[in-house]
Assembly symmetry: C2
Amino acid sequence: MGGDLGPAVTVPAIARALLLYPSLSVRAFICGDISAHLAAAGLQQHPRLTLIQAQCTVGMDERPSSALRTKRDSSMGEAVKDVAEGRSQACISAGNTGALMALSRHFLKTLPGIDRPAIVSAMPAVNGKRVYMLDLGANVACDSETLYQFAVMGSAMAHTVEGIDRPRVALLNIGEEEVKGNDQVRHAANLLQDAPSIHYVGYLEGHDIFTNKADVIVCDGFVGNVTLKTCEGIAQFFLAQLRESFGNSLWGRVLGWLVRPFIKAVYARVNPDQYNGASLVGLRGIVVKSHGNAGIDAFFNALEQALHSAERKLPDGIESAIGTVLLDKH
Amino acid sequence: MGGDLGPAVTVPAIARALLLYPSLSVRAFICGDISAHLAAAGLQQHPRLTLIQAQCTVGMDERPSSALRTKRDSSMGEAVKDVAEGRSQACISAGNTGALMALSRHFLKTLPGIDRPAIVSAMPAVNGKRVYMLDLGANVACDSETLYQFAVMGSAMAHTVEGIDRPRVALLNIGEEEVKGNDQVRHAANLLQDAPSIHYVGYLEGHDIFTNKADVIVCDGFVGNVTLKTCEGIAQFFLAQLRESFGNSLWGRVLGWLVRPFIKAVYARVNPDQYNGASLVGLRGIVVKSHGNAGIDAFFNALEQALHSAERKLPDGIESAIGTVLLDKH
């Protein structure tokens, strides 16, 4: 039900996923009548689609604490509970991020050794690479131990999902020198240097997020969220400026029309918004958050990400990585 | 002497500024022999250029504390002292930012009511507007009172330098709702709401930095520095992707060659690096920091910015704005 467009986006995306993945079963938690959407997508009677009616939905502006208190039986709450109770292997939602995190922590609990779950997403980088960045907004302030746990989870995710042997892990900082940055980041660097199972490569600055110098970039949720949204903003700004620049002359307008497909393709890679699907990691189960304004393609990407995470047993990978660093320590 | 290229950049930029501004006098603090650069720029015997030999220079990697202890008689230290002692109206440096801040605090002192100076720069926004963003890296952690002081200084700067009547001031945050963000940002919002002389417009997210929703955006130095450098990184990444996309076919290469001037013009606007010249505000004097890798055009921009700040008496504007908010409070 979640997201700006609800079933108008999620139902066609589910139809495509069921078509492309013959072993996939979908349990869709709905609230109210979505039969028109199902009919439009040809999903009235699909053998691998189960519809489950929930009591209510969570509003996009609802506070996480209020959702946790009053909306456990919402479509979102029931979907998370379905994973917690073993009926589903992964949950995908385009709804309220804070509520999804609160309900996920409540029903799924965190993995042993993890204090706070994080939101992680793959950002684009040069040469077609991807870089996992976390936290993207679950934790506005993080101590060094929390940043360290994020590094372990990010490394496990790049290893498990992306198949990278020893993922390069960096801390986002405001300078590359040892003396730069705040206390939390500097202490996290010390912790990471002492962890043989983590391939820590040092500090990275904002301009190197996209240059493939690391596979995992760790920062607190405030910095990560601002960074992610700044990328979105500057990509849109770049496009708007290009449009204006081409629009100033007839020759420019002709050229602008000709280069449209090239620029569109680049924008699709550069705008992190297009890389839809952020994972809530550190939980005893898989939860993927789709962008609220995701279209059908983007929500389908989030579905695929949940599927891959389930196939590769992401929470097991993270749990085992945490076990290893704990053994390292003692 | 500062910056990656030193006098090879600064001397030609000074030559251009002396030519364009007949009332400008330049006092250049050098160390060693720069006569070849002066000759190349036709500046051997200029009536409005004074050369002053300093004992040493500050290295780009030197720690601020060490520069403050051992490099007060460097070209950078002497230039700042020249402002403090009233012989110059503004200082421009392309050198080590931390050292410049430390020496500026030492020689110039902060304005009454200001605890910590900030680094502020104008970022591009839609419709040819500019937005002043601070702090960009001088203070890695800021309490709410410091953020509040940044807001007052940024507002005074947009008013004094840009001539905006009641500059719209926003706090950078990870959500637009009241409940979002960390404690410092939320408390700073309360302080700003209670300051009638500040036109506070609320929270702004990363994707709205460039949409002209505010004239001043306030954040701590860690977030600001990462944001600025992320903009630089994504602009370069966008360009690299465009180049790759055009390079894939003959038609693409022809088109790419044709659109080059359009894209170059846009890149020059989008990349904050091109908007050279960051002001150190909150001091009893004008200090402008040029990017270390600035070229001649960029360093000239920094010179112009110092000149405008001096003409418009920026420190007086900030001091009077602080006086007003202090009166507001009592």
